[in-house]
């Protein structure tokens, strides 16, 4: 259950307690989830309802493994998803996940605190994931900083309008498959930038830092990744009966 949902339930629960005259008869029971959420919240390191990693980090630095577990719980889902996106392989992604947190724990004293903890572990995770890719394709080296490609032309294959909310044509599972295979079709260098910027929603600066790329390189790759994905998705999302092809 996401923290957001948990908090939302918790708030609803508190409102109910505060409210002197309840009760909608079919709404007065606390579900196990609600009780759960009440009990679990402090363990998540959330006192005020907002995740604050400063204390957890300070405790983890002194060797407090429970505090570090709190950090893991907060970030493991994102790191696992990121690793799956880059490696495109569940087994590799799980290795990356473990290596990331083991390394982070081991080198916690090297974390300066002038970047976000999340950006720092993303950088570790991306490096581990790229190493996996390199191992898998021994014939082809995968590097994020090969050639900065600002000048070359941008390919547009098809120009066709999409429906509003075209994704609603597909089930959740179908949609995930479409999106995953589109991401998979990107070159690793574009894929990492796109996933960090548009899926994990890191800023351009954070992405540049995590991938050790220049800001223009991030911007240029993001543009190309977005346009390539747009091309891929057009075959799924274009307006029915609207087969206007055009070339530029």
């Amino acid at each position: 259950m996401g923290l957001g949902i948990r908090l939302c339930r918790w708030r609803r629960l508190l409102t109910r307690i505060d409210n002197p005259n309840p009760i909608n008869p079919d709404e007065h029971l606390l579900t196990c989830d609600m009780i759960d959420s009440l009990v679990e919240l402090p363990a998540q390191g959330t006192q005020s309802g907002v995740f604050d990693e400063t204390d957890l980090l300070a405790q983890a630095r002194t060797g407090d493994t429970r505090a570090f577990s709190g950090l893991i719980s907060h970030y493991e889902g994102k790191i696992f998803r990121l690793a799956q996106h880059i490696t495109q392989n569940r087994e590799d992604a799980e290795d990356v996940l473990q290596e990331t947190f083991l390394k982070a724990y081991e080198h916690l004293d090297q974390f300066q605190g002038n970047s976000k903890f999340y950006t720092w572990i993303v950088r570790i995770a991306v490096n581990q994931a790229l190493m996996k890719l390199r191992k898998r394709k021994t014939d082809r080296s995968v590097s994020l900083d090969e050639g900065i490609d600002t000048g070359e032309d941008i390919m547009i294959r098809e120009i066709a309008a999409w429906d509003e909310d075209p994704e609603q044509r597909y089930s959740r599972a179908e949609l995930n498959e479409i999106l995953d295979s589109a991401v998979q079709s990107l070159a690793p260098t574009y894929r990492a930038v796109f996933v960090l910027r548009d899926v994990e929603e890191l800023s351009t600066e954070e992405t540049a830092e995590a991938l050790e790329l220049s800001i223009p390189a991030v911007k240029s790759r993001l543009l190309r990744a977005r346009l390539q994905l747009r091309d891929k998705l057009t075959s799924f999302f274009k307006r029915k009966g609207d087969d206007a092809f055009a070339y530029m």
């Binding site: 066709a160 543009l223 977005r226 994905l229 747009r230």
Partner: protein, 84 residues
């Protein structure tokens, strides 16, 4: 008089246009181009929808077994540390 944008120039700026990080004067030129060029309007609109559909992707909760193995790996590491 400001020179007109070519489609290529429009595409070069598209990402930042969609992220709303372009300067106001460039932004005005780009907006003007979308009203005058149907192709670029479509590319702009569909790229915007591309970004939106990926942002809406839900992070699945981490599978229980993956989480359990991660915690086991951490514990093993700690045990080794204590011994050392």
């Amino acid at each position: 008089m400001t020179p007109l944008l070519t489609c290529k120039e429009f595409l070069q700026e598209l990402s930042e246009f969609l992220d709303e990080t372009t300067d106001a004067d460039i932004r005005a030129k780009l907006e003007k181009h979308t009203t005058e060029c149907p192709n670029c309007w479509v590319i702009c609109d569909t790229t915007k929808k591309t970004i939106k559909v990926f942002k809406g992707m839900q992070a699945c909760a981490i599978p229980e077994d993956v989480h359990a193995r991660l915690m086991a790996a951490m514990e093993k590491k700690n045990a080794a540390k204590v011994k050392a």
